[in-house]
Symmetry: C2
Subunit: 413 residues, 2 copies
């Protein structure tokens, strides 16, 4: 049995994800698809629209065989650490392929770009450092440095595109881990990553889907952009909890946290650059919404995404010292199993005895500092719900076993 790995957020699962999923199987010729999926807080520093359990169901219904949670310590991170965590999990599960969507669509330019950057490493890093010192944001500075060392862009990737950046980091992680995984890429179609409007094609970006959900409060218009099972799952979540999760739901808690933390305590938070805490303390007083707050805090040096991730870490009270294991080690320390198809179950049975990293099916059966961050993230995520739903959401996080799906009968077991 051959496995292809994919790295996903499914926030929520839409037709573009289905396209990627089906083509990952086709391109790789693999038998099973293993998805590493972010839990409650995502790479761009946002809460997921619906719980990881609902998103796991969406994944299984659409053909994913195994869903493993990307721990919080990797999921809410820059592309480099995010990719390292995800690839290390797929590697631990003996995936032979990793297939990612990209604006580029061919794997060769990724390899060329990486070789080019490796050759010019010294020069690149010197310019990058200088550009950062001028006050540019990290993505902007990498782009400027890359341009400066690159005369000919032929057969190179465009490193300004977000999915190209992630893809590049997957390949970097594969190299760094000395993994045998073979990278594949599929061209993203129909919608740009950052596209905010729903298109006439039936492929829309997750961003535009969330926009329809939150700004236009328009669930029903989403039907054509999502597989029906996903749409039903999304609808069910909305019916059960009368809401979808977004930053604004957490703003009161976020504001409370900044108001009650001392400057020193804020400085202990992961990704808090020295001095930034003064700015946050000053801006929070008058800001009536998260959006207003972030607008007022933003500077040339800090991208919206970079600041949003910092805000998530403030919200979850995640310290620099707690995140050390994620940035310093090369392997995610556990595999939290969220769901599996029957085929996925057979695959896990087969590889089980060769695993060097423990699989966690039950939260109470394992203890690890990074796992306690996942639990804390779940606690924080629950706060958007009113009581008693909040408490039962928390208890469910402890008691929910991996979701099992019969892909033949198309039903959960």
């Amino acid at each position: 049995m051959k496995a292809v790995g994919i790295v996903v957020e499914y926030n929520p699962f839409h037709n573009g994800h289905q396209f990627h999923l089906q083509n990952s199987l086709k391109e790789s010729g693999a038998d099973v698809v293993i998805a590493v999926m972010s839990g409650y807080f995502l790479q761009r520093g946002e809460p997921a629209v619906v719980s990881k359990w609902a998103r796991t169901k969406m994944a299984l219904q659409n053909g994913v065989d195994i869903v493993i949670e990307l721990p919080y310590a990797f999921s809410t991170q820059s592309a480099e650490i995010f990719a390292k965590g995800a690839v290390s999990i797929l590697d631990a599960l003996f995936c032979q392929y990793l297939c990612f969507g990209s604006e580029q669509g061919d794997i060769e330019p990724f390899i060329n770009t990486m070789d080019h950057l490796t050759n010019k490493k010294e020069q690149y890093e010197k310019i990058l450092k200088e550009t950062l010192q001028k006050g540019y944001s990290y993505p902007k500075a990498t782009s400027i440095a890359f341009e400066a060392i690159t005369a000919d862009h032929k057969n190179m990737i465009d490193l300004k595109k977000p999915n190209n950046i992630l893809g590049y980091q997957y390949i970097q992680a594969i190299r760094d881990l000395k993994s045998q995984i073979k990278p594949l890429t599929i061209k993203r179609i129909g919608a740009d990553y950052h596209d905010e409007t729903l298109h006439k094609t039936t492929i829309a970006s997750a961003t535009s889907i969330r926009k329809a959900l939150f700004e236009h409060n328009d669930l029903y218009s989403l039907g054509e952009y999502m597989p029906n099972a996903s749409f039903q799952e999304l609808k069910k979540y909305g019916d059960t909890f009368s809401m979808f999760h977004q930053w604004e739901n957490y703003y009161p808690f976020f504001k409370y946290s900044i108001l009650t933390k001392s400057l020193d305590e804020l400085n202990e938070i992961y990704e808090m650059d020295e001095g930034l805490q003064y700015r946050l303390k000053a801006k929070i007083l008058k800001s009536c919404s998260f959006h207003e707050f972030l607008q007022s805090v933003k500077t040339k040096r800090y991208t919206w995404t970079r600041l949003q991730r910092l805000c998530v870490h403030i919200l979850t009270n995640t310290k620099k010292k707690e995140m050390l294991p994620a940035s310093s080690s090369t392997q995610a320390p556990y595999l939290r199993l969220l769901g599996m198809s029957q085929k996925g179950q057979r695959y896990l049975q087969k590889i089980k005895k060769h695993l060097s990293v423990p699989i966690i099916a039950k939260l109470s059966a394992f203890d690890h500092p990074l796992l306690s961050l996942d639990v804390r993230a779940a606690h924080v995520y629950s706060l958007a719900l009113p009581e008693p739903k909040r408490s039962s959401f928390i208890m469910k996080e402890y008691s929910t076993p991996p979701i099992r799906y019969d892909e033949m009968e198309k039903q959960f077991l």
Copy 2:
């Protein structure tokens, strides 16, 4: 000009308070009344029903001449530290009298009890220690120790009564501070401190008034238990903010705080006894309300009030080290002026040059670690309000000058 000091919470101001106020003037023969009033969080570990500004107005309209805020570091404390902070403020303002309400009603038994306890100090403290070790709460243990050393209760106070306890601590503080203040007491009439029902007399306890407000949502029935001006002020607050403050408003933030703080962080909180943090962490998961939480946490060792105060400190993130100045020093370090009548203003003019402690009229003009606790308490208190009222409440805390009242024209200036 002679001043009589009183220690108040006015939560909210009612007929019993008016009785106490008028009789304090009468008994002392003083010209001005100075009230030391708790700010946003009170001695029993609760948020005040309405803001300190609204309560200051109630005080001025009913004859108080000067309102000084009792800093958070003293207001949310056991009777001993609470009394020490309040008395030190009245002493700094050259009050000649301190007049408190008590169940006892005569000052002599207070003095007798104090002399008796001073004589039998060693024996008392030995029994107190043993009783505490048996797991009794502090109030229960003091009561048992007192009974054990006291053969004859004649001309002694009943130390099980809450206002007797406070009064006793005022006198103790006067002695400890070597203050010249002369203590006076007035018998509380009409309602017991803990009485929860509205009586047929027009004097009701603040507890029963709050009960009518929160449980029966019955503002209008309160009219006869409060001076009209206070009732109008209460009503105005309700009309402006569509709410009155109670613990349940803060429960989501409280729960968030416990969920996201580590055991070590919780152990740094003031009044957190070693080991108690495990119990709080466990009980918070399933508790859907503050009342439910406290019920489940309560043990023989910890009174409801003791735990509520701890909960306030968790809510405001107040650390043991931050409270050291309050328990170790004998003098509140500043006098935050909340309001004054014209007579009060003349009194302050007169004593101004003799003051050894600074008067704060404007928040931004002074800086002190204990004052930053007051500011934090104001921030936290604002969280019960929705945006944008929350932000404007916070800004108002910084910009509101002392309230000035013309007692002749009966109007604010």
